[in-house]
Symmetry: C2
Subunit: 454 residues, 2 copies
């Protein structure tokens, strides 16, 4: 019965916040070997908390790097679904420390927010799940669902060992669906279903002309300028209407349905002038900025360089020019295939007199999407709305979460992203915080969700 | 009578080379204040040499920077022309010193070449003129022409003060024509008339998009990428046929005459693969590489940068992108006008969603050209051919020599470039040298020339 669990959460709020403070006080910065002991302490904390809650099995597993906390609960009965819960206990470094208004590892409540490194990303959100499990066990003596817990300590350093672990222990992690709370809502108190993430792929283009920088007076007119050659190549890949002109790029893109356009329309748009300083948004012809960022593929030059970069002039024809490109992909686009299309285009567009070399970036990911009317999604939306008292909006995101693609890739299970962060949480920055209101309503959402799916 | 002067030069070769060694031994590096005394010593050397030769007036003049050596000879009579002779006594630094096979300031003869910093650029060539004047004075007691000598000490640091001096002392430097020996021949022992230089002008383009680098997942699709915007602008300025597509760019370019195309055809082309490593030359449609480098304007991107330049990927939309552009100009093209055409084009080509700013480079110069059939040029060619025993070729150069433009600008007098350097002289590099053969034949050329023009 959800009532009892909710009552427990409400009556034990101070106790639970105290426990959370203890967890947040451990400086589990994964990137710095100075914090190796703290990483271990955070894993210990989770292992013993899960034990105490009453999980059948709770242990630290070796990954080759920082330990992964694994726990299982199997007492919900054979008819209850099994959920794989993923989170991470490591946090970002705190530099620049002088910009923090309070100690990042002495959690402080100010103006309705809990300030601490990891309060939002992701220790705070991990803790909410554990607190909800505690509430069920303390009141009903059991959980409504079977659970496999996977909390890693390397997310902030690229989850270096996770893919291998997930791949090698298929039986251990297999479940009916996965739940991840490591994302956010589009605005504070605006329940948000994140039902899609983009994939990505990238290439680097190197153009070589002469074997050293040349005097532009002596050789201008005889030698192709590699920077200009690269300009011609790149300008042929996306036009001024923001349409990618690489042949086949859009071929397998699923068209945006009227239903999705409607869902996107319902999301309150970002104030781009405020957040980016641009006075005018520019997006693919035929699509709004919201539609393009959420649901259409993109092509970006992330960096470009060649020749002289100092003050004033240096009259040279440079020897080389380089551009780094990444594309954000949508469902249907195969990263390796898109890389090949980009590569083919570059070689075909290369003008004479220069040598063009394309390097394919190794890291790439497929896009992820759950149908917004999937029953697990609908139930999540209902749970959000019930807890927050507000209609849930549906969004897709331009970014990528590697673990989502990996779970999808290895297990092919639905992944439900139940995020409770807000745009003001300052993840990875000084003064990270999390609204206490989200803490309460988030836990309530989880209770409703387990009741809904059990 | 030229015979006597030539005989003197031949009989006194060792004596003259000794004098030249002394001059080259002075480390008159203009860029380094450590060498201030040496700069003075080189100016002293010239002042006293000119005095000794018998110039009516020889003195060091204050420029605000390093002194300028000025001397006059007015005894050739009212019918003889007055020549302004320009050269420079300062030299480039010698770094990296460890790459020199002999001390840069202890001149050494090896394999028919004189090795020393300044042996070609420009102390060696200045000395040849003084030696010829000495020869005339010692044998005939007079020079065949009236001479104004202007030897500066700041050429290697951009002739910082020369324009003002030339401008402020118009009467002092005024002459019938100018002679400069600070350039080279297209090949050793290939007498070469350099009858044209290109001018130049430049702009810098800055494109600003968002006010900070953005996450390409969150904002890709909403914000114009400044690097791509710059690519579209630049690709619209020159096409793949190497034709500049900026409106009006070629409007006032003098067409290349059949006569000039013939002159250019006679010049042995450079082996571009050897000197630049490119396997294929690329030049303006309708023109050969020789024609384009010598006699057609060019447009080069000297440098371009924006966004991430490190290893691997960084998935950002950069905040800014910059390109540095210079054009080499031909006679008829007004640098300021061309700058304006470039600027107008850039602003018109700028796509929406970014701010584009054009900075006009201050330093610019008009092209310079003497008609190849000008009598002073024809006489120079005859003198070269007589001394070197080989037909003289006519070339124009893609580079610029600022003093040429200044003399042209202020005095509007013909300027004859009598250069004797060779492509192997390694100007500005370790192991600078000058062929002793060029030393002898160059002085002979000068004697013939003075006889021809007197």
């Amino acid at each position: 019965m959800s009532k009892q669990a909710l009552q427990y959460l409400s009556e034990n709020r101070e106790h639970l916040l105290d426990r959370l403070h203890t967890f947040l006080s451990i400086p589990s910065v994964s990137t710095d070997s100075v914090h190796k002991k703290d990483i271990k302490a955070a894993a210990d904390y989770l292992e013993s908390y899960l034990n105490e809650i009453g999980f059948d099995r709770s242990e630290q597993q070796d990954t080759g790097g920082h330990p992964l906390v694994y726990a299982e609960y199997n007492q919900a009965g054979p008819d209850a679904p099994t959920v794989l819960f993923y989170g991470h206990y490591d946090v970002q470094p705190v530099d620049p420390i002088e910009q923090w208004k309070s100690d990042p590892f002495k959690p402080e409540n100010r103006n309705g927010r809990l300030y601490a490194r990891g309060s939002s990303d992701d220790k705070g959100q991990v803790f909410m799940h554990l607190a909800v499990f505690e509430a069920y066990m303390k009141t009903e003596g059991k959980l409504p669902i079977n659970v496999k817990v996977c909390i890693e300590g390397e997310e902030e350093i690229g989850s270096e060992n996770l893919y291998k672990v997930l791949h090698d222990k298929k039986e251990q992690f297999d479940a009916d669906f996965a739940v991840i709370s490591d994302s956010g809502m589009v605005a504070e108190n605006q329940p948000t279903i994140l039902y899609g993430l983009k994939g990505f792929t990238g290439i680097e283009i190197n153009v070589t002309g002469p074997d050293h920088d040349l005097h532009s007076g002596m050789y201008g007119g005889a030698v192709r300028n590699p920077i200009m050659a690269l300009n011609h190549i790149l300008a042929s890949m996306k036009n001024e209407d923001e349409v990618v002109t690489v042949q086949g790029f859009y071929d397998s893109v699923e068209p945006l349905s009227e239903n999705e356009r409607e869902l996107i329309k319902n999301v309150q748009g970002e104030n781009y002038e405020e957040s980016t300083g641009v006075r005018q948004t520019v997006s693919e012809k035929g699509y709004s900025a919201k539609e393009h960022t959420m649901a259409r593929p993109t092509f970006e030059i992330n960096g470009m360089y060649g020749g002289y970069q100092g003050e004033g002039t240096k009259t040279i024809i440079p020897s080389t020019a380089t551009a780094k490109i990444t594309c954000r992909l949508v469902p249907g686009q195969e990263p390796q295939h898109i890389q090949e299309l980009l590569e083919d285009h570059v070689y075909q567009a290369a003008p004479s007199g220069v040598t063009v070399d394309v390097k394919k970036e190794k890291l790439s990911a497929k896009a992820y999407k759950v149908e917004p009317n999937h029953s697990l999604i609908k139930k999540a939306a209902e749970s959000y709305t019930k807890a927050f008292g507000k209609e849930t909006v549906y969004v897709r995101m331009g970014g990528s979460i590697p673990v989502v693609e990996w779970i999808e890739d290895i297990y092919n299970m639905p992944i439900i992203l139940l995020g409770f962060g807000t745009p003001d949480d300052r993840l990875h920055s000084p003064n990270e915080s999390f609204p206490l209101d989200s803490f309460d309503k988030g836990m309530e959402t989880l209770v409703h969700y387990w009741e809904n799916v059990k």
